[in-house]
Amino acid sequence: MIDTTREERLIETFTVLADTLVAGYDVVDLLQTLVESCSALFDITAAGILLSDTRGDLEVVASTSEASRLVEMMQLSAQAGPCVECFTTGTVVSLPDIDDGPASWAPFRESAREQGFASVFAIPLRLRETTIGALNLLRSARGELRHEDVRAAQALANVATIGILHERAVTENRTVRDQLTSALKSRVVIEQAKGVLSHTHGISMEEAFVLLRTYARNNGRMLSEVAERLVDRTLRI
């Protein structure tokens, strides 16, 4: 019975994502929807998506929480941890017990432990032979993810990859690099817009993100467009 519900939710998620891909969409918003779907669908505590920039460094573009500690921990994983290994090998990296990782992953392990995570799974964002980033799933309990969850997560990661690479490719002849750069760039503007709202409303960065996203949704506008207009001061909310 639980499985049926889960399957229904999974179908619902893919439907929402497919609809998004057909209509106009914003990459960061799409990735945000995706990480939130992951945390609702799977037995996990947190999720995040990292994309590689022009120098090959991985950067967080979406995460279930904007808390800086979580984001920083994912960045540590991208320096020495499951995330970078997944990215370089292009394969799923499972760490059912974070204590089992190699010694060089210590900074990541410390940070993950401090925040109560016990296991982590990294799933590649890959199109044919090109890996553009990784989806990270974190859990407070030890143990493997269910096999079907890993498969479903990989399917979601594929949707994310298509979403990132497809954006604008229809109308413009753009390379994978360009697509990634534009996704990361819109994240920069979103961070700046969070700063604007945080200052003008006296709220935290997390609250600022919620406000930004809610405003974009309620007004049928793209997240990055609203962010841009807040930053160039042509919009005040």
Binding site: D53, D57, L58, E59, V60, S68, V71, E72, Q75, A78, Q79, V188, E191, Q192, A193, K194, G195, V196, L197, S198, H199, T200, M205, V231, D232, R233
Partner: protein
């Protein structure tokens, strides 16, 4: 002459690396006989960056040596100091400076501060041989040229120290804090994101901190450029 002004603005905007000829852009547009661009203060050091002739250079030098004069007042008040007939009917009291220029061929002096947000960087001094007035339009144009000049001088100083950029400013997580802080600063001062970033970078440079450390101070609301005084060397610890 709006066309000449537009041409000077665009030439100035692309003048990085050619700071010695900065004053020529003022001469191209404004009805003056000479001009100089100087930095004043701890951050960029006190020096004449560009002077159109000996007289312009001498006026700067006198003011540096005497510690008084139009450029000091422009910097202190953050607004232009317009003296249509500085030798015979000065509107402000500069006993030593007035005495020093008694035999110079100077009619008017117009001094404009070089500022970016809260940072006071130096001044532009312009003179005419005969007494004259600066129209409102010319004053506005000078102020606009001064803003572009400020940005260039700051960028030059930072360029010269770029090798010393701390490693931690280059990692993605720092970039996220700096982006958020950039948003807060641009909202505090109602300026562009590029200028806000330049201000954070300058503050880091002036206080021997990394950009990330400065960003954290801003995010923690321990540093607010809108409410603080003009000292950029002050400590926030």
């Amino acid at each position: 002459m709006p066309d000449r002004f537009a041409a000077a603005m665009s030439a100035l905007t692309g003048a990085a690396g050619e700071e010695e000829s900065l004053c020529s852009h003022f001469l191209d547009v404004l009805p003056v006989d000479g001009a100089s661009v100087s930095t004043i203060g701890e951050m960029l050091g006190s020096e004449t960056v560009s002077a159109s002739d000996r007289q312009a250079a001498r006026l700067d030098e006198l003011q540096f040596d005497l510690g008084e004069g139009p450029c000091w007042d422009a910097l202190a008040t953050g607004g232009p100091v317009l003296e249509p007939c500085v030798r015979e009917r000065p509107q402000r009291a500069w006993p030593a400076f007035s005495e020093a220029i008694v035999n110079d061929d100077i009619g008017a002096i117009f001094a404009f501060p070089l500022m970016l947000g809260p940072l006071r960087l130096g001044a532009v001094d312009m003179y005419t041989v005969r007494p004259s007035r600066l129209s409102d339009e010319h004053a506005e144009q000078t102020a606009a040229l001064a803003t572009v000049t400020s940005r260039l001088l700051l960028a030059r100083a930072l360029r010269l120290t770029q090798d010393e950029m701390p490693a931690e400013d280059r990692n993605p997580f720092s970039r996220r804090s700096v982006d958020q802080a950039t948003g807060m600063v641009l909202a505090q001062l109602d300026i562009s994101a590029d200028d806000a970033r330049l201000i954070i970078q300058s503050h880091a440079f002036a206080t021997h901190r990394s950009m990330r450390e400065v960003a954290e101070l801003i995010l923690d609301r321990r540093l607010n450029f809108a409410t603080r005084n003009d000292e950029i060397e002050d400590s926030h610890d």
